[in-house]
Symmetry: C2
Subunit: 273 residues, 2 copies
């Protein structure tokens, strides 16, 4: 899916919601454990319930990897089940020397046909480029993450006065265009998001873990949106574990719809869409 | 395996060689492709041929992941086949927010019983700590990698005058002790290795991709060794693909032995072992 097509999906659904498939056998409704592949069965029902309101799904690869070979089978089936018009993100945070990154790219782009993969920037250009060589696929590079540990290194200021995440934003734009490169941006302060948008005006940002309540979504949207929306805002647990019981699909659908309605309001208000 | 046990293995074998299992169906001898599990069969024969001279094996996880569920089965069988007295490294370069890192740790430490895993530091303390919570297991944190892209961010100098990889070395020592934390150190200049050893005097370093020829091994060893050796030097392709034909095991054994003999000489010369 290219950038224009992604924006069209956002307009069509009035939504820039990404649903995180952090599927955990300990958290899914008990009655699903009797299924042959409970992880896939949970994902299938969540996808059925939410795809009207979501423009992207983001399986968190660790949850599948922790289950061994079976987990990879569940992941593959999930990916094949996601409708073609929904953007898919392998949240894998890979990154290694050139030939190794090529193999990771092959695993997620060729074997599994994900649209995109999250990549860690620490090893620099030759660890990221192999992912960018896949036509029509996307790298979502970690810039400013939302966890506490983001402060440890990402905020280190260089002699030039730029923070590490700003260096990542600037240098990586020489490696790939806004048609193949997005950024993970977890910042929740207005001035920081504005600053990041100024450094990368045309790129999509994947924003992790913002609740629909509390103003974070509005603030991020007002300061982070560009003309093509430029945001994919992820919600995982609040949607997929809205209920741990048999009503989990209706509850997930309601949660997703509420986020979508708020996004609809923001798209109208900010972009006039 | 704890630090003392690792050092005892190094003394016993007069070797600090790590053999990288970057097993690639395109590169292994053709006759193995008739086997039911060619990847495992190749690894099995390489392990048989080289374990007298190697203190560690390091499967590069991308090579297995690129093969889908089958690849994970080959990896698991390989790990079970590696003799108990050899240290095992999952070269996975993982790292994510806390609960996700916990799942990666579970995958590699509990499901697969690796001794250690390589981890990327970009997301900071709470992305690394979950790995450190597994008793008797090791994190091998990327500090200074050996690829060209290492220059992009790892060498950025902060206002305090320290480079990013030096900040990683210093801050991460507050997260775990030299009994649970090693570093990837791919530097090949004498003064840089000396500087890194000064910042982390007691930690083991995993040194990627140094050929036995050309003086790099000697230079790294002279400037990087500590009293417990403190080095694991990796060689992948030069050993496992020494031959692409039916003599691959004898050729791999000869290559491994040559490195071991050079390491024996260096251990005697530097540590008097």
């Amino acid at each position: 899916m290219n950038r224009q097509q992604l924006f069209e999906q956002i307009r069509k659904k009035s939504s820039y919601l990404c649903v995180g498939l952090d599927t955990d056998l300990k958290k899914i409704p008990r009655h699903l454990l009797a299924e042959k592949d409970p992880v896939f069965e949970f994902n299938r029902q969540i996808i059925d319930a939410t795809h009207d309101f979501a423009v992207a799904y983001k399986p968190n690869i660790a949850f599948y990897e922790a289950l061994g070979p079976k987990g990879w089978e569940s992941l593959q089936k999930t990916l094949e089940y996601i409708p073609q018009d929904v953007f898919t993100i392998a949240d894998a945070k890979r990154g290694d020397i050139g030939n190794t990154s090529s193999l990771y790219a092959q695993a997620f782009f060729s074997e599994m046909n994900f649209d995109s993969i999250t990549v860690a920037p620490y090893m620099g250009e030759d660890s990221v480029k192999p992912f960018l060589e896949f036509a029509g696929k996307w790298v979502i590079l970690l810039a400013h993450t939302s966890n506490t540990g983001a402060n440890d290194f990402q905020l280190i200021e260089s002699a030039s006065g730029r923070k590490l995440y700003e260096e990542v934003l600037l240098r990586s734009q020489q490696w790939g265009s806004p048609d193949q490169l997005m950024y993970v941006v977890g910042a929740t302060q207005a001035d920081k998001i504005q600053g990041i948008r100024a450094l990368a005006p045309d790129h999509f940002f994947l924003v992790p873990g913002i609740g629909a309540q509390g103003g974070d979504l509005e603030m991020t949207s007002r300061h982070g949106m560009n003309k093509q929306c430029g945001l994919l805002v992820n919600s995982s647990r609040a949607i997929i574990y809205a209920s741990g019981d048999k009503d989990f699909t209706t509850r997930a659908r309601t949660e997703a719809q509420q986020v979508q309605q708020e996004m609809h309001r923001l798209l109208e208000s900010i972009l006039g869409e």
